[in-house]
């Protein structure tokens, strides 16, 4: 009887031990020498490591595991070819022996710079930010992204500030379109081709002046992915007043950025008093304050005559009855690494009307009189503007920049004033042609010395005619 009981207990125990399975083996090289310190990894699948061990001096390895159906054994050692064998554990197996012979394999790595994922890199005056760490699916434009980067703030107007300082410009792959008018870009450009953002401190417009010019300017540069596909993106908005006055506003941006060429089309048609040229004024006359060796920026033919009306105290767009049409094309080409061509053209057609009716009734003592004034002013404006920039990097220390601008404007102003029944007709016709050529040569001798040579030719004609009736 006693014997029987014992047997049963033993049986149970042995069942328990049963579920533990030993996996072991000897690892040797081709010459039958046991290998010490080989990594042996027991895996469920390619990612899930169950257990790992190292072989001992005799080349032995051993795992004690619970039951699993299918497993992989992976053997790896420096200088040997990685081996992997799959093992299948039967339910009743206690021990599995897998011996293996590893073959030598030379393994060489040239110096690999790892720099494990740093989101923000600081190099001298450049801060580089990898974009994808900040991206979420909700982000649509560059502005959304910039808001999330510590140190950069974007206010409700779209002004981008780094610390407390507004950025000088927002570039795409080092190419600049808008200078201070970067908001068009930051509010519209999508993010999916973007790789990183660079904050360029102590920025100089002329790259050779970097470090020489005393500058506290900051610029942002959006670096596109190396394999960035060209992609059209843009924004169009149309508003139309259906009620009475046929007022409308159509605005569109269309941009295409590739690694080599970049295009931007802007158009604006409106009759709501919006001054569309304001958007592109900085493109025509870039205002660069304190730019070294810049000459002739203040040269201008002043017009002597001007027909304008005194405007009542309303917002300017409420008294500006216009019909403006504006189209602009910007392009940047980089045919070779050294040459960059920027082209800009725009055409603006505008018609503004202004009416004023005045009735003054004056009562002084017993005498009184009434003045009636009926004033009409009609402006017609046509401007065509072309600008071409060539930038040629002769060598690392020499650059040649040439800028050609051509502007052709014609303005017609007609005013009609009927004062107490007497009519005065004024008629002014203006024509303006401007040819502006500027060549800048920069040669950097050393870290402190740079030679800048600027030549500029400006030919501006502004004839005015005036007739009074």
């Amino acid at each position: 009887m006693r014997k029987n009981k014992l047997l049963i207990i033993l049986f149970f125990l042995s069942l328990n031990i049963f579920s533990q399975i030993k996996i072991k083996g000897i690892i040797k090289d081709v010459t039958n020498k046991p290998l010490l310190g080989v990594n042996v990894v027991l895996k469920k699948d390619s990612l899930n490591i169950l257990e790992y061990t190292f072989s001992n001096r005799e080349g032995d390895y051993l795992f004690d595991i619970h039951h699993h159906e299918k497993l992989f054994l992976e053997f790896s050692a420096l200088g040997f070819k990685k081996e992997s064998i799959s093992i299948y554990l039967e339910k009743d197996s206690k021990e599995i022996i897998k011996n293996i012979i590893l073959k030598e394999q030379s393994f060489e790595l040239d110096e690999i710079i790892v720099q494990s994922e740093k989101i923000i890199k600081v190099k001298k005056d450049t801060v580089e930010i990898s974009v994808n760490k900040f991206l979420t699916t909700n982000d649509a434009t560059v502005e959304d992204l910039l808001k999330k980067i510590p140190g950069i703030s974007v206010d409700s107007q779209g002004t981008i500030k780094i610390g407390n300082q507004e950025i000088e410009k927002l570039m795409v792959d080092g190419d600049d379109f808008f200078e201070k008018g970067y908001k068009i870009l930051s509010k519209n450009m999508p993010l999916d081709q973007l790789k990183k953002i660079q904050i360029l401190q102590k920025y100089s417009n002329n790259r050779l002046l970097k470090g020489i010019e005393e500058s506290d300017k900051i610029a942002l540069n959006l670096v596109l992915k190396d394999d960035a596909k060209r992609q059209w993106f843009g924004n169009a908005s149309l508003s139309y007043d259906v009620l009475s006055t046929n007022k409308y506003h159509l605005k569109s941006y269309l941009m295409n950025f590739g690694k080599k060429n970049k295009y931007i089309f802007l158009s604006n048609f409106n009759s709501i008093g919006y001054n569309a040229t304001g958007d592109i004024n900085h493109l025509i006359k870039p205002f660069r304050f304190d730019e070294p060796a810049s000459i002739g920026d203040d040269q201008q033919v002043y017009s002597l005559l001007n027909l304008s009306s005194s405007v009542p105290n309303f917002k300017s767009n409420r008294t500006n009855f216009n019909n403006a049409e504006l189209g602009s094309l910007n392009a940047i080409f980089n045919p070779t690494e050294k040459l960059k061509i920027k082209a800009l053209g725009f055409f603006n057609w505008d018609e503004t009307d202004f009416f004023r009716n005045n009735i003054d009734v004056v009562n002084v003592n017993s005498s009184n009189f009434t003045n009636t004034e009926n004033y009409q002013l009609k402006n017609k404006k046509q401007i065509a503007f072309v600008k071409l920039d060539f930038m040629y990097a002769i060598s690392k220390t020499k650059t040649l920049e040439a800028t050609t601008k051509y502007n052709n404007g014609s303005f017609t102003n007609i005013s009609n004033l009927v004062f107490n029944g007497n009519s005065t007709l004024e008629n002014l016709q203006e024509k303006n042609t401007l040819l502006d050529q500027k060549i800048t040569y920069t040669n950097k001798f050393n870290d402190q010395k740079v030679f800048l040579l600027t030549a500029r030719f400006i030919n501006e004609k502004a004839p005015q005619n005036y007739s009074l009736n």
Binding site: D29, V30, T31, L36, G37, V38, N39, V40, V41, L47, N48, I49, Y52, F54, E74, S76, A77, L78, G79, K82, E104, S106, F107, E108, L109, D110, E111, I112, I113, V114, Q115, S116, E117
Partner: protein, 259 residues
């Protein structure tokens, strides 16, 4: 008989060649961000790793003062007094490192035989070109996370970290007292690693326990010397571990901790 001899010779030559061609030597550079950022360079083959500081600079003492209600805590960080670079040497059997005492003396310490028991997670990420897998463990009271790559199958890593089935490229503790990242990796085959380690210095190595005892003794001596210079009537400085109300410092290594 003569024929036999010839055969033997040929076989011998072959094995010799085989051993030679197996030689691979790697270097990895680490950036160790802690109280200060220091740079380490580690050379390793399949049997050893030798990790040492790249540039050694002397530094002055630094003083930090924290004022809170009613009490002022002065924290003095002792500057570096000597130019002996820190090294950590792992030959798979033993682990040696050197440490500077408060008076500038250097001790070579033989680490206790500890295997780091890692829990390997299925998370992966790319560090450089290497696919790395995440692993976690606790060591002397701190929780560590490591990213290692099986593409370089050696059980070595920065600082004292080891025993993973691949080279550790990133290591940090949960309190971010230390964050180590690899910056450069090179592997060369058919090149013997030269470990600039003197067998004599390793023989002189003391155990962790005796190192800790000496450290405590030297710290006490230092405080005694500090206190002897204090003006009369002022309260003596106390070692943080000897005072009850001192703020507990979070340490990377707590030697009392069993795990």
């Amino acid at each position: 008989m003569k024929v036999m001899k010839k055969k033997m010779l040929i076989i011998f030559l072959f094995t010799f060649l085989n051993i030679n061609s197996q030689e691979i030597c790697g270097t990895i550079e680490y950036e160790v961000k802690g109280y200060k950022t220091i740079y380490f360079k580690m050379i390793f083959n399949d049997n050893f790793s030798f990790n040492t500081e790249k540039e050694v600079k002397l530094s002055d003492n630094e003083k930090e003062t924290h004022k809170s209600e009613g009490s002022v805590t002065n924290k003095i960080i002792e500057g570096r007094r000597n130019l002996t670079p820190i090294f950590l040497y792992n030959d798979k059997q033993n682990f040696y490192f050197n440490e500077e005492f408060i008076d500038g003396e250097i001790a070579v310490v033989k680490e206790d035989k500890i295997t780091w028991k890692w829990k390997i997670l299925s998370e992966t990420k790319k560090i450089g070109n290497f696919t790395c897998q995440k692993a976690q463990t606790t060591f002397r009271g701190s929780a560590f996370t490591a990213w290692f790559t099986n593409e370089i199958p050696v059980p070595f890593g920065p600082w004292k970290a080891k025993d993973l089935p691949g080279l550790i490229l990133e290591l940090f503790d949960s309190n971010e007292i230390m964050h180590i990242t690899a910056t450069k990796v090179t592997l060369k085959s058919k090149e013997k690693c030269v470990f600039p380690i003197n067998e004599k210095t390793l023989k002189k190595a003391v155990s962790i326990q005796s190192y800790l005892n000496t450290q405590k003794k030297k710290d006490k001596e230092y405080f005694a010397r500090l206190n002897s210079k204090l003006p009369k009537g002022s309260k003596p400085f106390k070692l943080a571990e000897d005072c009850e109300d001192c703020p507990k410092e979070i340490k990377l290594e707590n030697f009392n901790e069993k795990k």
